[in-house]
C-alpha cells in the first residue's frame, strides 16, 4: 500500500501574513508599494503551492471560526494549484446535507475530483450556541450520521428519500451531469468505539490523533472490527517539529508551545517513526507544523524523500 502524505493549513496560523489590516509598516526610507488587492488568500495559495511543489499529495484546510472559511479557501486553492487534493474540514452544523453534497459536485467537476471532506469535531456547547446551533451533546453523532447518509444518498441514487431528526429529503438525488462527479473522500476523526463505529459506517478514512505505534495498531484493529466488513482506511494527524539534528529540534521545542503529541525529532528519526506507522497499516499522514509555509518546504524537502525511500524499500521487500 502506498503512503499518501498531506500537509495541513491552519488559516488562523501566522495571522499577520498577507493580512492587509495587519501589515507591518516599513520604515519611511523604504518605499512600500503593496496594493490593496493583496490579501490573505495570497498566503493560503503560497502554502498550497509549497505543498504541491514539494510533492505532498494533498492539502487539508482546518476549520477555524476565527479565520476564513475552509471550503471557500479550498475552492480558491483548487482552481489555482494543479494536482494536489484539497480537503476542507467543516462540522456537520454547516447546513443542509443536500446542499453540501451539491456544492461538492461543482467543486469536483471543476477540479477533476480532487475534493475530500474532513468532518471537523463539533464545538463545545457555548461555542455551538454562538453559531446558532442548539443540538445537544448527546445528539451530535446522530446528526453527523444523518448528514453523511443524506449527502451520500443523494449522490449515489435517484430518487433518494430519507426522513431523520435533522435532515430529510424526498425524491432527491442528482441527475446527469452532476451525478458523474465522484463523492468526496470522507475523513472522520475521534476516539472511542462510537466514533470508530461511525467511521465504519461512513468514512473512507479514519484519522487518528498522535499515539504510539502499539496504541495505533490496537485502534486500527478495533476500527476494522467495528467496520463490519466495510473497508475503512486508517490515517494519522501528526504535528511535527523536525530539524537536521535531534538536539536542534529539542532546543527549538523549548521555545514554543507545541500541539499535543508533536513529534520532536531529527529528519532521519522522524522518517523512521512515520515509516513505522505505515508498517502497521496507516496509509495517509496529515502533517502539520508552523510557520506553515517554511515548514512545508522543510518537511517536503528533507523529511518526505527520506520517508518515501523507507516506505518504498519496505514495499519492495514485501
Amino acid at each position: 500500500m502506498t503512503l499518501s502524505v498531506h500537509w495541513r493549513l491552519d488559516p488562523a496560523a501566522e495571522p499577520r501574513r498577507s493580512e492587509p489590516g495587519a501589515w507591518q509598516r516599513l520604515p519611511a526610507l523604504a518605499r512600500d508599494r503593496r496594493v490593496s488587492t493583496q490579501n490573505r488568500f495570497d498566503y493560503f495559495l503560497q502554502v498550497a503551492q509549497a505543498a504541491a511543489q514539494t510533492a505532498f499529495d494533498g492539502l487539508f484546510v482546518r476549520h477555524r471560526i476565527e479565520a476564513d472559511e475552509s471550503r471557500i479557501i479550498a475552492a480558491i486553492i483548487a482552481r489555482a494549484v494543479p494536482h494536489i487534493h484539497v480537503v476542507p474540514e467543516f462540522p456537520a452544523s454547516v447546513g443542509s446535507a443536500v446542499y453540501a453534497a451539491k456544492q461538492a459536485t461543482t467543486f469536483q467537476r471543476a477540479a477533476h475530483d480532487r475534493l475530500g471532506w474532513a468532518i471537523a469535531p463539533d464545538a463545545e456547547p457555548a461555542g455551538r450556541e454562538a453559531q446558532a446551533d442548539f443540538v445537544s451533546d448527546g445528539d451530535l453523532a446522530q446528526r453527523l450520521d444523518e448528514f453523511l447518509t443524506v449527502a451520500r444518498g443523494v449522490h449515489r441514487e435517484r430518487p433518494f428519500s430519507f426522513k431523520g431528526s435533522y435532515f430529510e429529503v424526498e425524491n432527491g438525488g442528482f441527475d446527469a451531469p452532476l451525478n458523474r462527479a465522484s463523492f468526496p473522500r470522507v475523513y472522520l476523526q475521534g476516539s472511542g468505539d462510537a466514533a470508530l463505529a461511525l467511521s465504519g459506517r461512513h468514512a473512507d478514512m479514519h484519522l487518528f490523533a498522535p499515539a504510539s505505534t502499539e496504541a495505533l495498531a490496537k485502534d486500527i484493529a478495533r476500527l476494522n472490527a467495528l467496520a463490519d466488513g466495510r473497508s475503512v482506511a486508517a490515517g494519522l494527524i501528526q504535528p511535527l517539529l523536525v530539524r537536521d539534528e535531534r538536539q536542534t529540534a529539542e532546543r527549538d521545542a523549548r521555545d514554543r508551545p507545541l500541539a499535543p503529541g508533536t513529534l520532536v525529532a531529527s529528519y532521519d528519526e522522524a522518517a523512521e517513526i512515520l515509516a513505522g506507522f505505515a508498517a502497521i497499516g496507516i496509509t495517509e499522514l496529515v502533517l502539520e507544523a508552523t510557520p506553515t509555509l517554511e515548514e512545508a518546504y522543510r518537511i517536503g524537502q528533507h523529511l518526505l524523500p527520506r520517508l518515501r525511500a523507507l516506505t518504498s524499500a519496505a514495499r519492495q521487500a514485501a
Partner: protein
C-alpha cells in the same frame, strides 16, 4: 441617477445560439466533438477543460464591457454559485458575484463567515439574490419541507442573524426558526462591506420580507405597465415602513442590428421547438406566485412565433428556447435600448440582462446596446397610471 447593469452566468450549460435547444456548451447534453468546456480535442478526447473555464470566459467578457457582475442562479441541476464564485474569485478583476441562495440551506452564522471570507478574497465583490424557493417537488428535492409562508419567515430571521453577526461579537437572537447566543464574526473577518441583498419573490410574504431586508427588489420582466405598478407598490410599502426600496429587472434580450434580424432569429428558434415540447410548456408543480404571474402571460396555444408577441419588442416565448422566464425583449439595438429606457421610466433602478450565447452576447449587448441608453429617457411618457 445611475443604473447598475449586471449580466448572468448560465449555470446549466449554454447554447451555441438562441435558435438551438441543445446545450453545446457544458456537459448537460451528450459530449461530442465541437462541444466546448469540457472541450474535446480534435480526436474527440477530453482535453481537460471543464465548464468552469467557459464560465470564466463569460465573467471576463461581462466585466470587460462594463457589466458590474452577474447573477449566478441555483437550481437542482445547475452548478453551485458559492463554489463558482470561489473558483473565479481570482480570475476576475471587477466582476461582482451575485449568488442566488436559499437561506434555509445554510446555518446563518456559518453562511455569514463564508460571505465575509468571499468578501475578503474578492475585495468586496459579493452580493446576494436571496431566493426562498418555489415549493413543490423541487423544494422537497432540496430537503426542505417548509411551507411557503414559513419559508419567508425563516428567510427573514436568517437575514436578521446574518446582519446581526456581521460586525458584532456579542449578538443574541431568539426567533421562531433560529436561536443564537452571543455570536459574531471573529475580529479578522469583521469590517467587510455587508453584501447587497437583492430579493426575489412575488407573493405577499415575499414583499413583506423584501421591505424589511432588501436593497433591491428583483423581478422577472412582466408587461411594462403591470411591472411599473408592481414596483410602485413595492416602493410604497417600503416607504410606509420608513425605508427606501430600489427595484431591478432580470430580462433576456435578442438584440440585433435590425429588428428584422432579431425576429428572424426568434422565428427560427420557434420553428426548432417540437410540438411535444410546446405541449409540455410550463406545467411544473410549484407554489411560486412569481411563476404563476409569468405563466398567466402565456397565450394558450401559440402556432406561430408571432402569436407570442405581447407588445412591441416583447416576446412571451423565451422559456421555449431556454430555461427561465417567458418574457423578453426582441429588437434592434436602438429598440432594445429604448425598451430598457421605458423600464427605467417605470421605476427600474437596476438590470440583470442576459442573452444566448452568454459569452458573445455579453460583448454584443455591452458594445451595441448599453451605449445607446439614456438617449430617450427625457422624451418618454412617464409611467402609465
Amino acid at each position: 441617477m445611475s443604473i447598475d447593469f449586471y449580466w448572468r452566468l448560465p449555470t446549466h450549460g449554454c447554447h451555441n445560439s438562441i435558435q438551438t435547444s441543445g446545450y453545446e456548451r457544458g456537459d448537460w447534453s451528450p459530449l461530442r466533438p465541437g462541444n466546448i468546456a469540457p472541450g474535446r480535442d480534435r480526436d474527440g478526447e477530453v482535453d481537460g477543460f471543464t465548464y468552469i473555464d467557459h464560465l470564466a470566459a463569460i465573467a471576463q467578457a461581462a466585466e470587460a464591457v462594463g457589466f458590474q457582475g452577474g447573477l449566478i442562479p441555483s437550481f437542482p441541476n445547475t452548478d453551485d454559485p458559492w463554489v463558482i464564485s470561489s473558483l473565479l474569485a481570482r480570475e476576475t478583476k471587477s466582476f461582482r458575484f451575485m449568488i442566488a441562495f436559499q437561506p434555509g440551506f445554510g446555518n446563518p452564522v456559518h453562511t455569514a463567515r463564508m460571505a465575509a471570507s468571499l468578501q475578503r478574497a474578492t475585495g468586496g465583490r459579493l452580493l446576494f439574490n436571496i431566493i426562498t424557493g418555489g415549493g413543490g417537488p423541487a423544494q422537497l428535492w432540496w430537503g426542505d419541507s417548509f411551507a411557503h409562508d414559513d419559508r419567508y419567515g425563516r428567510t427573514s430571521e436568517f437575514l436578521d442573524i446574518f446582519k446581526g453577526v456581521w460586525n458584532a461579537s456579542d449578538f443574541s437572537y431568539d426567533g421562531a426558526f433560529y436561536q443564537l447566543r452571543s455570536g459574531g464574526l471573529a475580529p479578522a473577518l469583521r469590517g467587510e462591506e455587508f453584501p447587497e441583498i437583492w430579493f426575489s419573490g412575488s407573493s405577499d410574504a415575499a414583499l413583506q420580507t423584501a421591505a424589511r431586508h432588501a436593497d433591491y427588489y428583483l423581478s422577472w420582466l412582466e408587461p411594462f405597465d403591470q411591472l411599473g405598478e408592481k414596483f410602485a407598490r413595492v416602493k410604497e410599502r417600503t416607504a410606509a415602513l420608513g425605508g427606501e426600496q430600489k427595484c431591478a429587472v432580470r430580462v433576456d434580450l435578442v438584440a440585433r442590428a435590425t429588428e428584422e434580424e432579431a425576429w428572424a432569429d426568434i422565428e427560427k428558434g420557434f420553428s426548432n421547438v417540437s410540438e411535444e415540447a410546446r405541449q409540455r410548456w410550463g406545467g411544473q408543480g410549484s407554489d411560486s406566485v412569481g411563476a404563476a404571474r409569468q405563466a398567466a402571460l402565456r397565450p394558450a396555444d401559440a402556432r406561430r412565433y408571432d402569436d407570442l408577441i405581447v407588445a412591441p419588442n416583447l416576446w412571451g416565448g423565451f422559456s421555449l428556447l431556454r430555461g427561465g422566464p417567458a418574457l423578453g425583449i426582441v429588437g434592434s439595438y436602438e429598440q432594445c435600448a429604448a425598451r430598457l429606457d421605458d423600464l427605467i421610466a417605470r421605476g427600474t433602478d437596476a438590470f440583470i440582462l442576459a442573452g444566448t450565447p452568454h459569452l458573445e452576447e455579453a460583448y454584443r449587448v455591452g458594445e451595441e446596446v448599453l451605449p445607446l441608453l439614456g438617449r430617450q429617457a427625457s422624451a418618454l411618457p412617464v409611467a402609465a397610471e
